[in-house]
């Protein structure tokens, strides 16, 4: 399995993610992208702001990719996360997998994003148009 795992402050490169996954010469590629949603429970978001413990987060993503590769036969795996400001309609995270057949591509990609959200050391702040903000699911009451 070949992996491409990264955290960066720049826009996530969808085109290159596809090229990387197609290059596996497998038959199925699944990609999931988390984008900044404009409205959540009737509250409008202006942008999200992400902060990471980069070194731990990268190690954690490597572990998740490895666990995925133990469950499914994966040719290539991508896990990219953006930090800093991510405006509405922009991508904060792209995960994906290339496999021989489509079932494992879907299952592994779902696993990658579910596990990333559970354990990768990245935090998200929701900023509304009036400038008010809150850290999402911070553990504060």
């Amino acid at each position: 399995m070949t992996t491409w795992i990264d955290i960066s402050e720049t826009a996530l490169p969808a085109e290159q993610v596809h090229e990387f996954l197609y290059a596996s010469q497998g038959g199925g590629v699944c990609v999931f992208v988390g984008t900044t949603r404009r409205v959540t429970l009737e509250e409008v978001t202006e942008h999200l702001w992400y902060e990471a413990h980069n070194t731990m987060a990268l190690k954690e993503m490597e572990k998740i990719a490895k666990r995925a590769s133990q469950q499914w036969s994966l040719l290539r795996v991508v896990m990219l996360h953006r930090t800093g400001k991510v405006s509405v309609g922009e991508a904060s995270v792209i995960v994906g997998a290339a496999t021989a057949h489509r079932g494992p591509a879907f299952e592994a990609t779902r696993f990658l994003i579910d596990e990333l959200k559970k354990s990768v050391q990245i935090w998200k702040k929701d900023v509304s148009p009036d400038g008010s903000s809150f850290w999402v699911d911070s553990g504060l009451g």
Binding site: H53, V120, I122, K124
Partner: protein, 81 residues
């Protein structure tokens, strides 16, 4: 001993800094450090039961003794993706 403490998100804002150098007594454990930080900061106090400590990028048990030069990250519940 001197350790480095790293704060993120809510705690970074609550402490007003992402990184702090702190002098601790020899024999301080992770649990002791959490108690110390909770005494000094209300936001930390309300998160003290959910934070995890990582030393040099690896999670540690709270009972673990801290050592001079440790790089300690305080990890609050994550929310990436």
């Amino acid at each position: 001993m001197i350790v480095t403490i790293r704060f993120f998100s809510v705690l970074r804002e609550a402490f007003g800094a992402g990184v702090a150098e702190v002098e601790l007594e020899d024999g301080t454990t992770g649990k002791d450090l959490i108690a110390l930080l909770a005494d000094n900061n209300d936001t930390f106090a309300s998160l003290k039961d959910v934070v995890r400590l990582a030393v040099n990028d690896e999670y540690v048990e709270n009972a673990e003794l801290l050592k001079d030069g440790d790089d300690i990250a305080i990890i609050t519940p994550v929310s990436g993706g």
